[in-house]
Amino acid sequence: MIDIDRMLAAAKPSEDDEIRRQIMLPWPEAFRIAMRNVTLRLGRAAITATGVILGIAFLVSVWTTNVIQDALEEEKPLAGLQQEAGKTEVEGGVAMMTEGVEEPGERAEGKARQVWLVVMSLLVCGVGITNSMLMSVTERFREIGTMKCLGALDEFIVRLFLIETAVLGFLGALVGAIIGHLIMLVIYMIKAGSSITAKMDWGQMLTYIGIAVVIGCVISLVAAVPPAVRAARMAPAVALSTEV
C-alpha cells in the first residue's frame, strides 16, 4: 500500500525544470538498444547481413580476379624478357599479344565485362539490403509506435535503425570482402600455383577491400534511411494498429 505513495513522492524529482523538459536518447543508450536488437534478433540480422555479404563478396571476388590477373599478365612478359633480352616491357606486351593469348579488343571487352559485373553486384547487394531493411522495419512498426508512446522523438527511431544498419553493414561487408577474396585466391592458387600470393599487388588488394567495406556500409545506410524515416514519421496510433 505504501509503495505507490512513495512512488509518487519520488515522482516529484529534485531535477530543475529545464532538465525536466528534456527528451533525450543518449548515444551510448541508443547504441546499447540497437546492439541488443542485432544480437537478440540474430536470425533477422543474419538475413540483412547476408544481403551485404553476398553483394560485397561478389564485388571483391571480381576485384581479386583483376589483381591476380594483372599479376599473371606481368609475369608473362617477364618470361618473354628472359628469352629475348633487350625487349622493352611494351614490346613484351605486344609479343605476348602476338602469341595469341588475347586480342586487344578482347581485353577491353574483358574490362567492360568486369565493370558490368561490379555494377551488377552492387545493384544486387543494394536491392537485397533494401528489401531486408524494409522487412525488418515493417515487422517492427508496433515496437516503433510503442516507443513513440513512451516519448521517443522521430529522430530516436531513425537513430536506432541507423546504428543497427551501420553495424550490420560494416560486419557484413567485412565478412563478405574476406569471403570473396579468399574464394578467388584459393581458386587461383589451385589454378596457377601458390606462388601468385607473392606476385600479387597486396596494397592494391587491401585498397579494394577497404573500398568494398565502405561501399557496403554506404549502401546499407542509404537503403535503411527511407523505411526508417517513414516508420518514424507515422502517427503512433497508425504504427500500433499495423498488422504484419
Binding site: 512513495r6 537478440l40 513512451l150 502517427a235
Partner: protein
Amino acid sequence: MAKIECPKCKTVIETTGLVTVCPDCGADLRGVMEELAHTVAEESSGAFARDESMTTHEFIVRTKGLTKIYTMGEVEVPALRDVELDIRRGEYLSIMGPSGSGKSTLFNMIGGLDKPTSGTCFIEEVDMAQLDAFELAWLRCRKIGYIFQTFNLIPVMTAMENVTLPMIFAGMSSDEMLERGALLLDIVGLGDRLHHKPYELSGGQQQRVAVARSLANAPAIVLADEPTGNLDLQTGKEIIDLLKRLNAESETTIISATHDLKMIDVSDRIVHIRDGMIERIDEREDLDIEIGTIDGEEE
C-alpha cells in the same frame, strides 16, 4: 533513499522501500515505512498543490468537438462525431462501447497518438493541436502513461529495461532508473522477475510490466486501451485492482477504454459510446444497484 529507525534495535537503516525487515534484528519495518511514506506524500502533495495553484483545473482532459474521419478509399468512415468530454482530475473513467464504436479512436486522440480531423483535445488546458513534435513527445513521456490490450512490450528487452525505457527518454540517471524500475516492478508484484524477457512472462505478468512502465515517469494520466482484453477473468481482475489501487492512492487519473464489465465496479464514471458519439455518462453512484446483476454475467 530514505532513512528510517528500526523500532526494535534502533538501528538507522537506509531503505528504498524494497527491504521490509530490519537487517540487524529482523523486525518488521512496514509500519515505520508506512508512516514515513505518509509524511513524504503529505510533503509532496503540498508541493503539488503549490504547483497547481498557478494552473488549477478541475478537468485534466477536455475535448471540444472532437471528430475523426477515416478515409478508406472513396468512403469516409466517421469514427468520432463531435465528442465533448470533460474528464476530472483524479477520476477513474471508463469508456465503454461495442467494438467499432470509436472508443479506441477516442483513446488515441486523448493520448495524442493520432490527430483529430477537426476539433481539439486539451490536456491540462494545453491544446494538443498546438504542440510541435517535441512537445508532444514530452507530453507522452511525462504526462501520460499508456497501457495496451496487446501489452506492447519491447520483445528484446527485459522487464526492467521495458520499464526504464521511458526514464531514459526523460533523461533520468541510470542509478535512479534502476532503483525506480525495481520499485515499480515490485509494486506490481514482479519484484522477482526483473530480468525476464516478455516471452518468459505470462500475459498477466506482461500486462503488469506494462502497468509499471506506464508509471515510469509518474504521469498525471494513465490511458488504458482494453487492458484486460487479452487476459483471463482472474488476471483481468488483478490488473483492474492494480489500476484502482493506483488511482485511489496516487490520484492518477485513469482513463480506460473497455468493454469489460468488471471495470464498472471500480469506475467513478462510465462514458458510453455508440457510433462515435457519447450515448450517456453514468456516475458511479447511480450504478450501485446494477452491479450485483452484471457481475455474474461475464462475457
